[in-house]
């Protein structure tokens, strides 16, 4: 049964018990987790972000393979400063979430002391599109066959920061992201051919900004896309404005993307903007010798000028 593939009841019990203790002891004032959505006939099971403030609500919490969104950006919604205690939040973090949180910490948008992290070594989430092909009944489905591609290529299954782990660490497989197969394919095209590819992709974009809003590297207090004066970009969707939007987005996350894959997952128009992020990762790897370009660090290669930086076109 597919339902059984998705769940881990034991882990869920541990999670609920720990959250209850943390809330009751006052160590945290709220917990960011996931709850199962009401099941609808014929519709894929899905777990969505929720905020638990009352210990008697912990039974709502789940952790399964359909917890698609990352929770860390919700931290930015919580009031901060003054005597607000809301930021004393607990949350679950998988490997990619921990990278995302590191990003917010390094950008001084969240402080490490404010958050209590229940780490979950994670072996992958399922891909909704793959799941929809076999759901609800298909007796012989392997987990592998329905896992998300980003998860299949993940090299950070274990959280890199946490306060405690809810289960044993898992072994890290070498990343397949670093193969950059699709990036290489795009690089091999002529500039004109490449332009055509992106023109077709960007012309489908509806500027819903779901990609920006889920992105942990898009954490500016005031996004340039919402600036009217100067208006870097308007709501007009001519192809030049579409390129402008995508350039702005891609360059602003260059060297800061943690490779969680959220932008691609949420895009309603199936635009493969992740390839742009991976192109930057590949360049950073090759030009600056960073083995793991998606691991946040104090000083990013693109965040500091070094006299011996490669300067091919200057």
């Amino acid at each position: 049964m597919i339902a059984a593939l998705l769940e881990d009841k034991h882990l869920e019990e541990l999670l609920r018990a720990r959250v209850r203790q943390l809330l009751e002891s006052g160590q945290i004032s709220l917990f960011l987790g996931y709850e199962r959505q009401e099941s609808l006939p014929g519709i894929l099971p899905s777990s969505v972000p929720c905020i638990i403030r009352d210990p008697s609500d912990v039974a709502r919490l789940v952790f399964d393979r359909v917890c698609h969104r990352s929770l860390v950006k919700y931290l930015l919604d919580l009031p901060t400063g003054g005597d607000s205690k809301e930021r004393r939040a607990g949350l679950v973090v998988r490997g990619c979430d921990s990278l995302a949180l590191q990003r917010l910490i390094q950008d001084h948008r969240v402080s490490r002391e404010e958050v209590y992290l229940l780490g979950i070594p994670c072996t992958g989430m399922v891909d909704k599109r793959k799941l929809s092909k076999v759901y609800p009944q298909s007796p012989s489905v392997s987990l592998e066959s329905i896992l998300d591609d980003t998860c299949l290529g993940c090299d950070t299954h274990n959280p890199v920061i946490y306060d405690e782990l809810l289960c044993e660490k898992v072994s890290e497989a070498p990343s397949s992201v670093v193969d950059f197969v699709q990036v290489r394919r795009l690089e091999a095209l002529s500039p004109d051919e490449r332009y055509k590819v992106w023109e077709a992709e960007f012309s489908r974009c509806i500027r819903c900004f779901a990609c920006r809003n889920v992105c942990p590297a898009c954490d500016c207090r005031q996004c340039t896309l919402e600036s009217n004066d100067p208006g870097w970009i308007t709501k007009h969707t001519s192809i030049s404005e579409q390129f402008m939007f995508h350039f702005i987005r891609a360059f602003h996350v260059a060297g800061r993307c943690v490779g969680c894959g959220e932008c691609e997952r949420v895009c309603p128009m199936g635009i493969n903007i992740g390839e742009l992020n991976r192109k930057f990762m590949k360049d950073i790897r090759e030009l600056f010798g960073r083995d793991n370009p998606k691991m946040p660090r104090d000083v990013e290669p693109l965040g500091k000028f070094n006299p011996d930086d490669p300067e091919e076109f200057l």
């Binding site: 014929g42 969505v48 972000p49 698609h68 509806i206 779901a210 308007t234 199936g270």
Partner: protein, 355 residues
């Protein structure tokens, strides 16, 4: 209205790609990297008609072709004090083929907003008059579809000019005319037409009627919300997970909000109506800086009160046609069906009026 007929698929395809395309801008659904989108028919490969009518619902509703994301209003040139202004609003003769019944119904709802006698949007009305809607009955609804619950029949020709029934096992392609415009359009193509006996026509309807739509049964028949629902405590809670993106409103066939935006390039520029979304934090921000909907609570409430209450107060209709797009695509599952369920529970618990 009129009888069901059949036409020859190839003959229709040739006509649409040939003569009709010279007289109209013809838009058809195509599959682009897994996303079904409407594109202008320019140099179609043979067999396109069969492919188009067998596609699932498009990601963007067909009716958005009448209210495009960037819709030119006027051009200006000159400056700094003296501008020449010219009209840029345009409407063309349009054929949209492959319109699903939910999107066709959405246009009927938008008519109440833009083509109401007391409140006419000239460009919209002109486009509406110049557009031929060729619908296609739903052979395989998505699991997220619940149009039946919202009073739409996935086979109904009511809201289109012509309706295609892409059912297997018929000789030729079954069609039905449902307006004078459709009749005239069909006559203009000079196709070989065969009229189907009444029984076959009934069989076709029975075929489509029998296609299940489980989510519709779950949704039942929603009633409108009362104005008092504005104060329900539920809004704060359900909105916590919203991402404040514009996905749900941009994909919704019954959402129509826009902003008027100027873009200037040196001494010339374009003023256009551009889609805007009540889910964006700055949607209602005033020139002086005040924002009457500062948090997600007010914005999510606006979206659902608008659909379930305000439009009902004003036009007598709930503004949802059950297309299921928000159900399928909202990144955090904050969609019409989920919110409706939660509202029902809240109202049942609080002893309020039912939905």
């Amino acid at each position: 209205m009129s009888a069901t007929i059949t036409v020859d698929l190839e003959e229709l395809e040739t006509q649409l790609a040939g003569d009709v395309s010279r007289r109209f801008d013809v838009y058809v659904p195509v599959d682009e990297n897994g996303a079904v989108v409407f594109r202008r028919l320019t140099t179609p490969a043979s067999g396109w008609l069969k492919r188009s009518v067998s596609l699932t619902r498009s990601v963007l509703p067909a009716n958005k072709l009448l209210t495009p994301q960037t819709d030119p209003v006027l051009r200006f040139q000159g400056g700094p004090t003296d501008y020449e202004v010219s009209d840029a609003a345009a409407s063309t003769d349009l054929v949209i083929l492959g319109v699903k019944p939910c999107d066709a119904r959405a246009l009927k709802l938008l008519d109440k907003v833009f083509a109401d006698e007391s409140d006419i949007d000239q460009v919209y009305v002109e486009r509406r008059q110049k557009t031929v809607l060729i619908g296609v009955a739903c052979e395989k609804p998505e699991p997220t579809c619940f149009c039946k619950a919202m009073g739409v029949s996935p086979w109904s020709s009511d809201d289109c000019d012509l309706m295609i029934y892409p059912m297997q096992g018929l000789e030729g392609l079954a069609l039905k005319c449902s307006s004078d415009k459709g009749q005239a359009f069909l006559a203009g193509m000079h196709l070989t037409i065969r009229e189907l006996p009444a029984e076959t026509s009934e069989e076709i309807e029975a075929h489509y009627r029998a296609i299940p739509q489980p989510l519709s049964e779950f949704v039942g028949h929603p009633e409108a919300l009362s104005l008092d629902s504005f104060e329900l405590p539920i809004w704060g809670r359900i909105s916590e997970r919203c991402l404040s993106c514009g996905l749900c409103t941009y994909l919704c066939p019954t959402c129509y909000c826009f902003a008027v935006v100027d873009k200037s390039l040196g001494e010339r520029g374009l003023r256009a109506r551009c889609w805007d979304s009540c889910m964006f934090p700055d949607f209602l921000k005033m020139a002086g800086g005040h924002n009457p909907r500062p948090t997600k609570k007010e914005r999510v409430r606006q979206r659902f009160m608008h659909k379930l209450c305000y439009t009902h107060e004003r036009y007598g209709q709930i503004f949802c046609v059950g297309c299921g797009r928000c159900v399928e695509k909202c990144p955090v599952g904050l969609h019409f069906v989920d919110v409706l369920s939660q509202l029902r529970r809240e109202l049942a618990g609080g002893g309020g009026d039912g939905l």
